[in-house]
């Protein structure tokens, strides 16, 4: 009996455990990628490429400065290289382009203002989805064993009701074939 109860309890918790395991594996993978990405010092050409990849080519459609063959994009890459040689940080270089072009020059929206919603909303949606799924799975797993009917305590019968039940049972016994 105890073994069956433990088995049932495990069956209830299994989906939640699986979801937690998936989240854990994902988090570890992201952490490893994030740490490895910062280990090696990139060359100046790589730095130019990284910064250029984060900027929209202003005269192209949906192309980054890194990917665009347009002369203006080439000039932007040359300007990035020159600024890096002058000791400017990636943030300062990006800020100089934002000063001339506005936030729309950035490939990713800035983390402030209304654009910041692009960063936290997906996380909220995923969290709500995971919680909703967990609640639904839990209900779905529990329902065959402990349905709402099991939770309701039987209400005491009145004397009239008890007499009616006895009469019905007696009638059933009489009708039963011997």
């Amino acid at each position: 009996m105890n073994a069956a109860a433990a088995k049932a309890r495990l069956r209830t918790k299994l989906p939640v455990l699986m979801v937690l395991l998936a989240v854990l594996v994902g988090a570890i993978t992201l952490a490893v990628v994030a740490v490895r990405g910062h280990q090696a010092q990139p060359s100046q050409a790589q730095q130019v490429q990284q910064i250029a990849a984060g900027l929209h080519c202003p005269i192209c459609k949906d192309l980054s400065v890194a990917d665009s063959p347009a002369p203006l994009a080439q000039q932007m890459r040359a300007e990035i290289a020159q600024k890096l040689r002058a000791g400017e940080s990636a943030g300062e270089i990006r800020a100089s382009f934002v000063a001339a072009y506005g936030d729309s020059v950035l490939m990713s929206p800035p983390r402030r203002g209304l654009s910041g919603a692009a960063y936290f909303l997906p996380a909220i949606v995923i969290l709500v989805g995971v919680l909703g799924a967990a609640v639904l799975i839990r209900r779905w797993v529990r329902s065959p064993e402990t349905g709402p009917a099991d939770d309701v305590e039987a209400a005491p019968l009145s004397a009239t009701q008890r007499r009616a039940v006895h009469r019905a049972l007696a009638r059933l016994r009489e009708e039963e074939p011997a």
Partner: protein, 182 residues
């Protein structure tokens, strides 16, 4: 029964809030032309430049302080730039004695092609060469033709995307001149 009603009310409220947010975003966003991006430079001091003229000594923007400057980015290969040529010439003729300078900034072009165009089209105002596109980048150029109006204090008061219209340009210059005279 009461609990279910409250739950439904919350659900309806959430749905109504989401729908309202989407409607507001669409109604504000759909009215805008996505290709027209407001320049953060309007209201700020115009980026300075010293560029070589096609027919004359190097020109420095900051040395024109005290005059209204119309900075027009163009190229000989740009057909829309040809369209606005007459309007710019007309503006130059109309305002050159009123403290207004029109400067053509040649962008992504060769000196030969630019000079040929200036000669054949009879461009009378000064034209400078932005050979390394650095000035274009400083002005946040997104294409040509693009025109910036700089007031007497050196601040950009407007950016015009596409070919300029002579009537609109002259009325805008008159406003800037009037504002500067006050």
């Amino acid at each position: 029964m009461r609990r279910i009603t409250r739950r439904r009310g919350i659900l309806l409220g959430v749905v109504a809030a989401v729908v309202s947010a989407v409607v507001v975003l669409l109604s504000t966003g759909l009215g805008k032309d996505p290709s027209v991006v407001a320049s953060p430079l309007v209201g700020r001091v115009a980026p300075d430049f010293t560029l070589s003229q096609l027919n004359g000594p190097p020109m420095t923007l900051s040395k024109l302080r005290g005059q209204v400057v119309v900075v027009n980015f163009w190229a000989s290969w740009c057909t829309e730039c040809h369209t606005e040529q007459a309007a710019l010439d007309q503006t130059w003729q109309q305002f050159q004695d009123s403290g207004v300078v029109v400067v053509g900034v040649n962008f992504e072009d060769t000196t030969g092609d630019a000079s040929d165009y200036v000669r054949t089209a009879g461009v009378a105002y000064p034209v400078v060469e932005d050979t390394d596109s650095r000035t274009a980048l400083a002005y946040g150029l997104r294409g040509i033709p693009e025109t910036f109006i700089v007031d007497k204090t050196g601040r950009i008061v407007d950016r015009i995307i596409g070919p300029v219209d002579a009537t609109k340009l002259s009325s805008e210059i008159n406003e800037v001149l009037l504002a500067g005279a006050r």
